[in-house]
Protein backbone atom coordinates (compact mmCIF):
# COMPACT_ATOMS: atom_id res chain seq x y z
CA UNK A 1 0.00 0.00 0.00
CA UNK A 2 2.67 2.50 0.90
CA UNK A 3 5.31 1.17 -1.44
CA UNK A 4 5.89 4.21 -3.60
CA UNK A 5 5.46 7.91 -3.41
CA UNK A 6 4.10 10.01 -6.22
CA UNK A 7 3.70 13.20 -4.28
CA UNK A 8 6.11 14.69 -1.82
CA UNK A 9 7.37 17.96 -0.46
CA UNK A 10 11.11 18.09 -0.23
CA UNK A 11 12.74 20.31 2.39
CA UNK A 12 10.34 23.17 1.81
CA UNK A 13 9.95 26.47 3.51
CA UNK A 14 6.36 27.67 3.36
CA UNK A 15 5.50 31.24 4.17
CA UNK A 16 2.92 33.94 3.58
CA UNK A 17 4.62 37.28 2.89
CA UNK A 18 7.27 37.13 5.57
CA UNK A 19 5.46 34.97 8.06
CA UNK A 20 7.11 31.53 7.93
CA UNK A 21 4.74 28.66 8.63
CA UNK A 22 7.02 25.70 8.07
CA UNK A 23 10.66 25.37 7.25
CA UNK A 24 12.74 22.40 6.20
CA UNK A 25 9.59 20.33 5.88
CA UNK A 26 9.75 16.97 4.12
CA UNK A 27 6.59 14.93 3.74
CA UNK A 28 5.85 11.87 1.62
CA UNK A 29 2.33 11.09 0.51
CA UNK A 30 2.18 7.32 0.09
CA UNK A 31 0.71 6.32 -3.23
CA UNK A 32 -2.88 5.03 -3.18
CA UNK A 33 -3.27 5.95 0.45
CA UNK A 34 -6.00 7.78 2.27
CA UNK A 35 -3.79 10.31 4.00
CA UNK A 36 -5.26 12.70 6.49
CA UNK A 37 -3.40 15.71 7.88
CA UNK A 38 -4.47 16.78 11.34
CA UNK A 39 -3.33 19.23 13.92
CA UNK A 40 -4.46 22.16 16.06
CA UNK A 41 -5.52 25.47 14.55
CA UNK A 42 -2.75 27.29 12.72
CA UNK A 43 -0.43 24.30 12.70
CA UNK A 44 0.25 24.58 9.01
CA UNK A 45 -1.90 21.72 7.71
CA UNK A 46 -3.83 23.83 5.23
CA UNK A 47 -0.58 25.47 4.18
CA UNK A 48 0.93 22.08 3.48
CA UNK A 49 -2.07 21.10 1.38
CA UNK A 50 -1.91 24.34 -0.54
CA UNK A 51 1.70 23.73 -1.39
CA UNK A 52 0.85 20.23 -2.60
CA UNK A 53 -1.77 21.64 -4.92
CA UNK A 54 0.41 24.40 -6.38
CA UNK A 55 -1.59 27.14 -4.70
CA UNK A 56 1.39 28.19 -2.63
CA UNK A 57 4.88 28.29 -4.01
CA UNK A 58 7.51 27.24 -1.46
CA UNK A 59 10.09 29.84 -0.70
CA UNK A 60 12.66 27.12 -0.65
CA UNK A 61 12.63 23.49 -1.58
CA UNK A 62 10.46 21.71 -4.11
CA UNK A 63 7.17 19.92 -4.37
CA UNK A 64 7.62 16.77 -6.44
CA UNK A 65 5.10 14.87 -8.49
CA UNK A 66 6.46 11.63 -9.91
CA UNK A 67 9.92 12.97 -9.24
CA UNK A 68 9.41 16.19 -11.18
CA UNK A 69 9.10 19.62 -9.63
CA UNK A 70 5.46 20.66 -9.74
CA UNK A 71 6.33 24.26 -10.31
CA UNK A 72 8.08 23.41 -13.56
CA UNK A 73 5.29 21.30 -15.00
CA UNK A 74 2.55 22.58 -17.25
CA UNK A 75 -0.42 23.59 -15.10
CA UNK A 76 -2.95 21.58 -17.09
CA UNK A 77 -0.82 18.44 -16.84
CA UNK A 78 -0.74 18.81 -13.10
CA UNK A 79 -4.48 19.51 -13.08
CA UNK A 80 -5.14 16.20 -14.79
CA UNK A 81 -3.29 14.39 -12.05
CA UNK A 82 -4.07 16.34 -8.91
CA UNK A 83 -7.58 17.52 -8.14
CA UNK A 84 -8.46 19.97 -5.38
CA UNK A 85 -11.47 20.80 -3.30
CA UNK A 86 -10.47 24.22 -1.99
CA UNK A 87 -11.66 25.85 1.17
CA UNK A 88 -12.93 29.06 -0.35
CA UNK A 89 -14.59 29.34 -3.68
CA UNK A 90 -16.76 31.79 -5.48
CA UNK A 91 -19.78 30.85 -7.52
CA UNK A 92 -20.60 33.22 -10.36
CA UNK A 93 -24.03 34.81 -10.26
CA UNK A 94 -26.81 32.49 -11.22
CA UNK A 95 -24.66 29.52 -12.20
CA UNK A 96 -26.49 26.21 -12.11
CA UNK A 97 -25.22 23.11 -10.36
CA UNK A 98 -24.59 21.18 -13.53
CA UNK A 99 -22.70 24.10 -15.05
CA UNK A 100 -20.46 24.47 -12.03
CA UNK A 101 -19.66 20.78 -11.91
CA UNK A 102 -18.87 20.91 -15.63
CA UNK A 103 -16.21 23.53 -15.00
CA UNK A 104 -14.23 20.75 -13.40
CA UNK A 105 -13.65 19.22 -16.84
CA UNK A 106 -11.54 22.16 -17.97
CA UNK A 107 -8.17 20.43 -17.57
CA UNK A 108 -9.29 17.76 -20.02
CA UNK A 109 -10.42 20.20 -22.67
CA UNK A 110 -8.54 22.40 -25.04
CA UNK A 111 -9.07 24.67 -27.99
CA UNK A 112 -9.65 21.73 -30.26
CA UNK A 113 -11.06 19.10 -27.98
CA UNK A 114 -14.29 20.58 -26.67
CA UNK A 115 -17.16 18.84 -24.91
CA UNK A 116 -17.30 15.05 -25.36
CA UNK A 117 -19.38 12.21 -23.97
CA UNK A 118 -16.53 11.34 -21.61
CA UNK A 119 -16.95 14.79 -20.10
CA UNK A 120 -20.69 14.27 -19.96
CA UNK A 121 -20.48 11.00 -18.05
CA UNK A 122 -17.82 12.35 -15.70
CA UNK A 123 -20.17 15.14 -14.71
CA UNK A 124 -23.14 12.83 -14.30
CA UNK A 125 -21.17 10.33 -12.23
CA UNK A 126 -19.78 13.05 -10.03
CA UNK A 127 -23.19 14.50 -9.34
CA UNK A 128 -24.68 11.11 -8.57
CA UNK A 129 -21.84 10.22 -6.25
CA UNK A 130 -22.29 13.38 -4.20
CA UNK A 131 -26.05 13.13 -4.21
CA UNK A 132 -26.69 16.42 -5.99
CA UNK A 133 -28.17 14.97 -9.15
CA UNK A 134 -31.70 16.22 -8.40
CA UNK A 135 -30.32 19.71 -7.90
CA UNK A 136 -28.81 19.81 -11.35
CA UNK A 137 -30.67 22.80 -12.77
CA UNK A 138 -30.92 24.77 -9.54
CA UNK A 139 -28.83 27.89 -9.06
CA UNK A 140 -25.90 27.30 -6.75
CA UNK A 141 -26.44 30.42 -4.73
CA UNK A 142 -29.92 29.28 -3.77
CA UNK A 143 -28.65 26.13 -2.11
CA UNK A 144 -27.91 25.56 1.54
CA UNK A 145 -24.33 25.52 2.79
CA UNK A 146 -24.28 21.75 2.92
CA UNK A 147 -25.68 21.32 -0.57
CA UNK A 148 -23.22 23.81 -1.93
CA UNK A 149 -20.32 21.99 -0.34
CA UNK A 150 -21.42 18.79 -2.04
CA UNK A 151 -21.63 20.58 -5.37
CA UNK A 152 -18.05 21.79 -5.01
CA UNK A 153 -17.05 18.24 -4.11
CA UNK A 154 -18.77 17.07 -7.28
CA UNK A 155 -16.74 19.56 -9.29
CA UNK A 156 -13.53 18.18 -7.80
CA UNK A 157 -14.68 14.65 -8.57
CA UNK A 158 -15.54 15.55 -12.13
CA UNK A 159 -11.89 16.34 -12.62
CA UNK A 160 -11.30 12.57 -12.39
CA UNK A 161 -7.77 12.73 -11.08
CA UNK A 162 -5.83 9.86 -9.52
CA UNK A 163 -4.81 12.14 -6.65
CA UNK A 164 -7.44 14.17 -4.85
CA UNK A 165 -6.66 16.90 -2.31
CA UNK A 166 -9.42 17.99 0.04
CA UNK A 167 -9.21 21.05 2.27
CA UNK A 168 -11.67 20.59 5.14
CA UNK A 169 -14.31 18.96 2.92
CA UNK A 170 -16.80 18.37 5.70
CA UNK A 171 -17.39 22.01 6.62
CA UNK A 172 -21.06 22.99 6.80
CA UNK A 173 -22.24 19.41 6.49
CA UNK A 174 -24.48 17.68 9.00
CA UNK A 175 -23.22 14.40 10.39
CA UNK A 176 -25.05 12.21 7.91
CA UNK A 177 -23.61 14.06 4.96
CA UNK A 178 -20.18 14.22 6.53
CA UNK A 179 -20.09 10.45 6.79
CA UNK A 180 -21.58 10.09 3.34
CA UNK A 181 -18.86 12.26 1.82
CA UNK A 182 -16.08 10.54 3.72
CA UNK A 183 -17.49 7.16 2.68
CA UNK A 184 -17.38 8.40 -0.91
CA UNK A 185 -13.73 9.32 -0.58
CA UNK A 186 -13.07 5.96 1.03
CA UNK A 187 -14.66 4.26 -1.96
CA UNK A 188 -12.50 6.30 -4.34
CA UNK A 189 -9.53 5.25 -2.28
CA UNK A 190 -10.51 1.58 -2.59
CA UNK A 191 -10.73 2.07 -6.35
CA UNK A 192 -7.08 3.01 -6.39
CA UNK A 193 -7.02 6.80 -6.01
CA UNK A 194 -4.81 8.69 -3.60
CA UNK A 195 -6.75 10.87 -1.20
CA UNK A 196 -5.11 13.59 0.87
CA UNK A 197 -7.47 15.40 3.20
CA UNK A 198 -7.17 18.02 5.91
CA UNK A 199 -9.73 17.19 8.56
CA UNK A 200 -10.37 18.94 11.80
CA UNK A 201 -12.25 16.07 13.41
CA UNK A 202 -9.69 13.73 14.90
CA UNK A 203 -12.06 10.80 15.17
CA UNK A 204 -13.05 11.00 11.54
CA UNK A 205 -9.39 11.15 10.66
CA UNK A 206 -8.62 8.06 12.71
CA UNK A 207 -11.58 6.25 11.20
CA UNK A 208 -10.88 6.80 7.53
CA UNK A 209 -7.16 7.38 7.18
CA UNK A 210 -4.71 4.63 6.55
CA UNK A 211 -1.92 7.15 6.87
CA UNK A 212 -2.02 9.98 9.35
CA UNK A 213 0.18 13.06 9.40
CA UNK A 214 0.06 14.94 12.68
CA UNK A 215 1.35 18.49 12.64
CA UNK A 216 2.01 21.09 15.27
CA UNK A 217 3.46 24.57 14.86
CA UNK A 218 4.49 23.95 11.27
CA UNK A 219 6.26 20.69 11.90
CA UNK A 220 5.33 17.07 11.46
CA UNK A 221 5.14 15.44 14.86
CA UNK A 222 4.13 11.94 13.87
CA UNK A 223 3.21 9.90 10.81
CA UNK A 224 1.86 6.41 10.39
CA UNK A 225 -1.30 4.34 10.59
CA UNK A 226 -3.80 5.66 13.15
CA UNK A 227 -3.76 2.43 15.12
CA UNK A 228 -0.01 2.79 15.48
CA UNK A 229 0.40 6.42 16.36
CA UNK A 230 -2.79 7.69 17.95
CA UNK A 231 -2.14 7.52 21.65
CA UNK A 232 -3.35 9.56 24.56
CA UNK A 233 0.13 10.98 24.97
CA UNK A 234 0.23 12.16 21.36
CA UNK A 235 -3.15 13.84 21.57
CA UNK A 236 -2.24 15.53 24.82
CA UNK A 237 1.11 16.66 23.44
CA UNK A 238 -0.24 18.05 20.19
CA UNK A 239 -3.65 19.33 21.16
CA UNK A 240 -3.26 19.86 24.84
CA UNK A 241 -6.32 17.68 25.42
CA UNK A 242 -6.26 14.99 28.12
CA UNK A 243 -8.10 11.96 26.80
CA UNK A 244 -8.29 8.23 26.73
CA UNK A 245 -8.19 6.07 23.63
CA UNK A 246 -10.60 3.22 23.13
CA UNK A 247 -11.32 1.09 20.13
CA UNK A 248 -14.18 2.22 17.89
CA UNK A 249 -16.53 -0.81 18.04
CA UNK A 250 -17.55 -0.45 14.40
CA UNK A 251 -14.37 0.51 12.56
CA UNK A 252 -11.88 -0.93 15.02
CA UNK A 253 -9.87 2.27 14.78
CA UNK A 254 -8.74 4.46 17.70
CA UNK A 255 -11.53 6.55 19.20
CA UNK A 256 -10.54 9.62 21.19
CA UNK A 257 -12.59 10.27 24.30
CA UNK A 258 -11.80 13.59 25.97
CA UNK A 259 -11.57 13.55 29.75
CA UNK A 260 -11.15 16.10 32.45
CA UNK A 261 -12.62 19.55 32.35
CA UNK A 262 -16.40 19.38 32.67
CA UNK A 263 -16.31 15.63 33.21
CA UNK A 264 -13.69 15.71 35.98
CA UNK A 265 -14.13 12.55 37.97
Amino acid sequence: MTDSTRLRVDDVTLAYDNRVISSGLTVDIPDRSFTVIVGPNACGKSTLLRSLSRLLKPQQGRVLLDGKAIGAMKPKDVARTIGLLPQTSVAPDGITVVDLVSRGRYPHQGMIRQWTSADESAVVDAMRATDVAELASRAVDELSGGQRQRVWAAMALAQQTPILLLDEPTTFLDIAHQIELLDLFARLHREGNTIVAVLHDLNHAARYADHLIVMKAGEVVATGAPADIVTAELVEHVFGLPCLIIEDPVSKTPLIVPKGGHWQA
Partner: protein, 329 residues
Protein backbone atom coordinates in the same frame (compact mmCIF):
# COMPACT_ATOMS: atom_id res chain seq x y z
CA UNK B 1 -3.91 61.63 27.06
CA UNK B 2 -6.62 61.96 24.45
CA UNK B 3 -7.63 65.21 26.01
CA UNK B 4 -4.14 66.57 25.56
CA UNK B 5 -4.21 65.55 21.93
CA UNK B 6 -7.53 67.28 21.57
CA UNK B 7 -6.19 70.50 22.95
CA UNK B 8 -3.14 70.30 20.70
CA UNK B 9 -5.41 69.76 17.70
CA UNK B 10 -7.49 72.75 18.68
CA UNK B 11 -4.35 74.85 18.88
CA UNK B 12 -3.31 73.61 15.43
CA UNK B 13 -6.70 74.61 14.11
CA UNK B 14 -6.23 78.11 15.43
CA UNK B 15 -2.84 78.27 13.72
CA UNK B 16 -4.42 77.11 10.48
CA UNK B 17 -7.11 79.75 10.76
CA UNK B 18 -4.57 82.44 11.32
CA UNK B 19 -2.49 81.20 8.40
CA UNK B 20 -5.58 81.28 6.23
CA UNK B 21 -6.03 84.92 7.05
CA UNK B 22 -2.45 85.82 6.38
CA UNK B 23 -1.51 83.87 3.27
CA UNK B 24 -2.81 84.54 -0.17
CA UNK B 25 -1.94 86.03 -3.50
CA UNK B 26 -0.82 88.88 -1.33
CA UNK B 27 0.39 88.06 2.16
CA UNK B 28 -1.06 90.25 4.88
CA UNK B 29 0.99 90.49 8.06
CA UNK B 30 -0.70 89.39 11.28
CA UNK B 31 -0.60 92.88 12.73
CA UNK B 32 -2.64 94.25 9.84
CA UNK B 33 -5.10 91.43 10.19
CA UNK B 34 -5.70 92.24 13.84
CA UNK B 35 -5.97 95.89 13.05
CA UNK B 36 -8.57 95.26 10.39
CA UNK B 37 -10.53 92.96 12.69
CA UNK B 38 -10.62 95.58 15.35
CA UNK B 39 -11.54 98.39 13.05
CA UNK B 40 -14.19 96.57 11.07
CA UNK B 41 -14.71 96.47 7.33
CA UNK B 42 -13.56 99.60 5.62
CA UNK B 43 -11.12 100.62 8.33
CA UNK B 44 -7.88 99.80 6.53
CA UNK B 45 -7.12 99.04 2.89
CA UNK B 46 -6.43 95.43 3.83
CA UNK B 47 -9.76 95.21 5.61
CA UNK B 48 -11.61 94.83 2.33
CA UNK B 49 -9.61 91.74 1.41
CA UNK B 50 -9.93 90.40 4.92
CA UNK B 51 -13.65 90.86 5.28
CA UNK B 52 -14.73 90.16 1.74
CA UNK B 53 -12.40 87.30 0.91
CA UNK B 54 -10.31 85.84 3.68
CA UNK B 55 -12.81 85.62 6.51
CA UNK B 56 -15.65 84.00 4.57
CA UNK B 57 -13.18 81.69 2.93
CA UNK B 58 -11.75 80.64 6.27
CA UNK B 59 -15.17 80.18 7.79
CA UNK B 60 -16.23 78.03 4.86
CA UNK B 61 -13.03 76.04 5.16
CA UNK B 62 -13.67 75.35 8.83
CA UNK B 63 -17.38 74.68 8.46
CA UNK B 64 -17.22 72.53 5.33
CA UNK B 65 -14.16 70.71 6.59
CA UNK B 66 -15.76 69.88 9.89
CA UNK B 67 -18.95 68.75 8.20
CA UNK B 68 -17.10 66.50 5.77
CA UNK B 69 -14.95 65.00 8.48
CA UNK B 70 -17.91 64.21 10.69
CA UNK B 71 -20.03 62.81 7.89
CA UNK B 72 -17.12 60.66 6.76
CA UNK B 73 -16.69 59.27 10.27
CA UNK B 74 -20.42 58.59 10.48
CA UNK B 75 -20.58 56.79 7.15
CA UNK B 76 -17.56 54.67 7.98
CA UNK B 77 -19.10 53.72 11.30
CA UNK B 78 -22.58 52.91 10.04
CA UNK B 79 -21.52 50.97 6.95
CA UNK B 80 -18.53 49.42 8.69
CA UNK B 81 -16.62 50.37 5.62
CA UNK B 82 -13.19 51.86 6.19
CA UNK B 83 -13.03 53.12 2.64
CA UNK B 84 -16.13 55.27 2.78
CA UNK B 85 -16.30 58.98 2.16
CA UNK B 86 -19.25 61.20 1.28
CA UNK B 87 -17.53 62.02 -1.98
CA UNK B 88 -16.76 58.47 -3.03
CA UNK B 89 -20.17 57.21 -2.01
CA UNK B 90 -21.88 59.73 -4.20
CA UNK B 91 -23.48 61.83 -1.47
CA UNK B 92 -21.74 65.03 -2.50
CA UNK B 93 -22.38 64.18 -6.15
CA UNK B 94 -26.07 64.00 -5.40
CA UNK B 95 -25.98 67.33 -3.61
CA UNK B 96 -23.90 68.89 -6.36
CA UNK B 97 -26.20 67.64 -9.09
CA UNK B 98 -29.24 69.01 -7.30
CA UNK B 99 -27.55 72.38 -6.98
CA UNK B 100 -26.66 72.27 -10.68
CA UNK B 101 -30.33 71.76 -11.45
CA UNK B 102 -31.34 74.52 -9.11
CA UNK B 103 -28.87 77.01 -10.49
CA UNK B 104 -28.75 75.96 -14.12
CA UNK B 105 -32.33 75.04 -14.77
CA UNK B 106 -34.33 76.91 -12.17
CA UNK B 107 -32.10 79.92 -11.90
CA UNK B 108 -31.94 79.88 -8.11
CA UNK B 109 -28.72 81.64 -7.43
CA UNK B 110 -29.00 82.43 -3.76
CA UNK B 111 -27.74 79.92 -1.27
CA UNK B 112 -30.91 79.85 0.72
CA UNK B 113 -32.59 78.89 -2.52
CA UNK B 114 -30.38 76.02 -3.60
CA UNK B 115 -29.53 74.86 -0.10
CA UNK B 116 -32.63 72.73 0.13
CA UNK B 117 -31.73 71.18 -3.21
CA UNK B 118 -28.36 70.31 -1.79
CA UNK B 119 -29.96 68.54 1.16
CA UNK B 120 -32.45 66.80 -1.05
CA UNK B 121 -29.74 65.66 -3.43
CA UNK B 122 -27.58 64.37 -0.60
CA UNK B 123 -30.50 62.49 0.93
CA UNK B 124 -31.62 60.84 -2.30
CA UNK B 125 -28.08 59.91 -3.23
CA UNK B 126 -27.42 58.30 0.14
CA UNK B 127 -30.62 56.28 0.02
CA UNK B 128 -30.05 55.18 -3.58
CA UNK B 129 -26.48 54.13 -2.96
CA UNK B 130 -27.48 52.28 0.15
CA UNK B 131 -30.34 50.42 -1.49
CA UNK B 132 -28.48 49.38 -4.62
CA UNK B 133 -25.22 48.81 -2.85
CA UNK B 134 -26.57 46.52 -0.17
CA UNK B 135 -28.62 44.38 -2.51
CA UNK B 136 -28.04 40.80 -3.37
CA UNK B 137 -25.21 38.53 -2.36
CA UNK B 138 -22.12 40.40 -1.25
CA UNK B 139 -24.26 43.44 -0.79
CA UNK B 140 -23.29 46.05 1.72
CA UNK B 141 -19.66 45.16 1.17
CA UNK B 142 -17.23 48.06 0.94
CA UNK B 143 -16.61 47.44 -2.74
CA UNK B 144 -20.26 47.23 -3.64
CA UNK B 145 -21.15 50.46 -1.88
CA UNK B 146 -18.14 52.24 -3.29
CA UNK B 147 -18.89 51.15 -6.82
CA UNK B 148 -22.52 52.15 -6.51
CA UNK B 149 -21.49 55.55 -5.23
CA UNK B 150 -19.03 56.01 -8.04
CA UNK B 151 -21.56 54.84 -10.60
CA UNK B 152 -24.11 57.29 -9.29
CA UNK B 153 -21.54 60.06 -9.28
CA UNK B 154 -20.61 59.28 -12.87
CA UNK B 155 -24.22 59.33 -14.03
CA UNK B 156 -25.03 62.56 -12.26
CA UNK B 157 -21.96 64.36 -13.44
CA UNK B 158 -22.66 63.22 -16.98
CA UNK B 159 -26.20 64.43 -16.87
CA UNK B 160 -25.28 67.78 -15.41
CA UNK B 161 -22.64 68.14 -18.11
CA UNK B 162 -25.34 67.46 -20.63
CA UNK B 163 -27.62 70.08 -19.17
CA UNK B 164 -24.91 72.65 -18.97
CA UNK B 165 -23.54 72.15 -22.44
CA UNK B 166 -26.74 73.75 -23.60
CA UNK B 167 -26.20 76.77 -21.38
CA UNK B 168 -22.79 78.40 -21.74
CA UNK B 169 -23.16 80.84 -18.85
CA UNK B 170 -24.37 78.17 -16.53
CA UNK B 171 -21.52 76.04 -17.80
CA UNK B 172 -18.87 78.53 -16.79
CA UNK B 173 -20.46 79.18 -13.43
CA UNK B 174 -20.81 75.50 -12.60
CA UNK B 175 -17.33 74.67 -13.84
CA UNK B 176 -15.92 76.87 -11.13
CA UNK B 177 -18.46 75.78 -8.58
CA UNK B 178 -17.79 72.08 -9.11
CA UNK B 179 -14.06 72.36 -8.70
CA UNK B 180 -14.35 72.34 -4.95
CA UNK B 181 -12.68 75.67 -4.55
CA UNK B 182 -13.17 77.79 -1.49
CA UNK B 183 -12.39 80.91 -3.42
CA UNK B 184 -14.93 83.59 -4.18
CA UNK B 185 -17.81 81.89 -2.44
CA UNK B 186 -18.66 85.02 -0.55
CA UNK B 187 -20.72 85.38 2.61
CA UNK B 188 -23.90 84.43 0.90
CA UNK B 189 -24.19 80.79 1.79
CA UNK B 190 -22.76 80.88 5.29
CA UNK B 191 -25.65 82.13 7.43
CA UNK B 192 -28.10 79.89 5.57
CA UNK B 193 -26.05 76.72 5.98
CA UNK B 194 -24.46 77.07 9.41
CA UNK B 195 -27.53 76.30 11.55
CA UNK B 196 -28.00 73.01 9.72
CA UNK B 197 -24.36 72.09 10.23
CA UNK B 198 -24.81 72.71 13.91
CA UNK B 199 -27.84 70.43 14.02
CA UNK B 200 -25.95 67.76 12.11
CA UNK B 201 -23.02 67.98 14.49
CA UNK B 202 -25.23 67.69 17.53
CA UNK B 203 -26.98 64.63 16.12
CA UNK B 204 -23.62 63.02 15.40
CA UNK B 205 -22.50 63.27 18.99
CA UNK B 206 -25.86 62.11 20.27
CA UNK B 207 -25.59 58.82 18.39
CA UNK B 208 -21.87 58.38 18.99
CA UNK B 209 -22.42 55.88 21.78
CA UNK B 210 -24.73 53.64 19.72
CA UNK B 211 -22.29 53.80 16.86
CA UNK B 212 -19.79 52.01 19.05
CA UNK B 213 -22.30 49.20 19.41
CA UNK B 214 -23.24 49.17 15.72
CA UNK B 215 -19.58 48.78 14.83
CA UNK B 216 -19.68 45.31 16.33
CA UNK B 217 -22.27 44.04 13.90
CA UNK B 218 -26.03 44.20 13.87
CA UNK B 219 -26.70 41.11 15.94
CA UNK B 220 -24.29 42.08 18.64
CA UNK B 221 -25.49 45.67 18.63
CA UNK B 222 -29.07 44.62 19.24
CA UNK B 223 -28.07 42.35 22.09
CA UNK B 224 -26.21 45.29 23.58
CA UNK B 225 -29.37 47.30 23.56
CA UNK B 226 -28.65 49.69 20.74
CA UNK B 227 -31.59 50.67 18.59
CA UNK B 228 -30.19 50.09 15.15
CA UNK B 229 -33.00 51.58 13.16
CA UNK B 230 -33.06 54.83 15.08
CA UNK B 231 -29.29 55.08 14.96
CA UNK B 232 -29.25 54.52 11.22
CA UNK B 233 -32.00 57.03 10.56
CA UNK B 234 -30.36 59.66 12.71
CA UNK B 235 -27.03 58.97 11.04
CA UNK B 236 -28.70 59.38 7.67
CA UNK B 237 -30.16 62.70 8.78
CA UNK B 238 -26.82 63.88 10.08
CA UNK B 239 -24.95 62.84 6.94
CA UNK B 240 -27.52 64.56 4.77
CA UNK B 241 -27.29 67.79 6.69
CA UNK B 242 -23.53 67.74 7.01
CA UNK B 243 -22.54 66.53 3.54
CA UNK B 244 -25.31 68.49 1.86
CA UNK B 245 -24.39 71.60 3.77
CA UNK B 246 -20.70 71.23 3.03
CA UNK B 247 -21.43 70.83 -0.67
CA UNK B 248 -23.72 73.84 -0.65
CA UNK B 249 -20.91 75.85 0.91
CA UNK B 250 -17.91 74.65 -1.02
CA UNK B 251 -18.94 72.42 -3.88
CA UNK B 252 -18.05 68.73 -4.01
CA UNK B 253 -14.87 67.89 -2.13
CA UNK B 254 -13.61 64.33 -1.87
CA UNK B 255 -11.37 62.41 0.46
CA UNK B 256 -11.51 64.67 3.48
CA UNK B 257 -14.17 62.42 4.94
CA UNK B 258 -12.04 59.39 4.06
CA UNK B 259 -8.69 60.39 5.49
CA UNK B 260 -9.55 62.23 8.65
CA UNK B 261 -11.42 59.47 10.51
CA UNK B 262 -8.52 57.12 9.78
CA UNK B 263 -6.02 59.53 11.27
CA UNK B 264 -8.32 60.08 14.21
CA UNK B 265 -8.75 56.35 14.70
CA UNK B 266 -5.02 55.84 14.47
CA UNK B 267 -4.49 58.28 17.30
CA UNK B 268 -7.41 57.62 19.63
CA UNK B 269 -8.48 54.06 18.86
CA UNK B 270 -11.95 52.78 18.01
CA UNK B 271 -14.14 54.82 20.34
CA UNK B 272 -16.55 56.68 18.09
CA UNK B 273 -17.00 59.57 20.47
CA UNK B 274 -13.33 60.41 20.34
CA UNK B 275 -13.12 59.73 16.62
CA UNK B 276 -15.89 62.24 16.03
CA UNK B 277 -14.29 64.74 18.35
CA UNK B 278 -10.91 64.51 16.65
CA UNK B 279 -12.47 64.52 13.20
CA UNK B 280 -14.21 67.70 14.21
CA UNK B 281 -10.81 69.34 14.54
CA UNK B 282 -8.62 67.55 12.07
CA UNK B 283 -10.90 67.87 9.09
CA UNK B 284 -11.01 71.68 9.07
CA UNK B 285 -7.27 71.70 9.56
CA UNK B 286 -6.87 69.49 6.52
CA UNK B 287 -9.19 71.52 4.37
CA UNK B 288 -7.67 74.82 5.39
CA UNK B 289 -4.19 73.48 4.77
CA UNK B 290 -5.28 72.23 1.35
CA UNK B 291 -6.77 75.61 0.61
CA UNK B 292 -3.67 77.44 1.75
CA UNK B 293 -1.49 75.11 -0.27
CA UNK B 294 -3.66 75.88 -3.26
CA UNK B 295 -2.94 79.54 -2.78
CA UNK B 296 0.80 78.98 -2.67
CA UNK B 297 1.50 76.31 -5.21
CA UNK B 298 0.97 78.34 -8.36
CA UNK B 299 1.01 81.86 -7.06
CA UNK B 300 -0.54 84.23 -7.98
CA UNK B 301 -3.07 81.84 -9.52
CA UNK B 302 -4.89 79.39 -7.27
CA UNK B 303 -5.45 75.68 -7.28
CA UNK B 304 -8.84 74.70 -5.85
CA UNK B 305 -8.73 72.97 -2.48
CA UNK B 306 -10.86 70.13 -3.82
CA UNK B 307 -8.17 69.19 -6.29
CA UNK B 308 -5.50 69.21 -3.62
CA UNK B 309 -7.54 66.96 -1.35
CA UNK B 310 -7.99 64.58 -4.28
CA UNK B 311 -4.28 64.57 -5.04
CA UNK B 312 -3.41 63.86 -1.39
CA UNK B 313 -6.36 61.63 -0.72
CA UNK B 314 -5.95 59.26 -3.64
CA UNK B 315 -2.52 57.98 -2.57
CA UNK B 316 -3.87 57.61 0.96
CA UNK B 317 -6.71 55.50 -0.35
CA UNK B 318 -4.30 53.39 -2.39
CA UNK B 319 -2.10 52.92 0.63
CA UNK B 320 -5.07 51.88 2.76
CA UNK B 321 -6.30 49.32 0.27
CA UNK B 322 -2.83 47.86 -0.23
CA UNK B 323 -2.47 47.43 3.48
CA UNK B 324 -5.67 45.41 3.75
CA UNK B 325 -5.39 41.69 3.43
CA UNK B 326 -6.64 40.71 0.04
CA UNK B 327 -9.92 38.91 0.32
CA UNK B 328 -12.12 37.55 -2.40
CA UNK B 329 -15.26 39.62 -2.47
Amino acid sequence: MRLIGFVVAAALLVVAIIASMIIGSRDIPLASVLQALQGGPGSTPDAVVIFELRIPRTIIGVAAGLALGLSGALIQAVTRNPLADPGILGVTSGASFAVAIAVGVLGLTSASGYLWFAFGGALVATVVVYLIGSAGRGGGSPVRLTLTGVALGAVLSGISSAILLADPEGFTAMRAWESGSLQDRGWDAIPAVLPFLVIGTVISFVIARSLNAVALGDDLAVSLGANILVTRVLALAAVTLLAGGATALAGPITFVGLMVPHVARWIVGPDQRWILAYSLLFAPILLLVADIAGRLVIRPAELPAGIITAVIGAPVLIYLVRRQKASAL
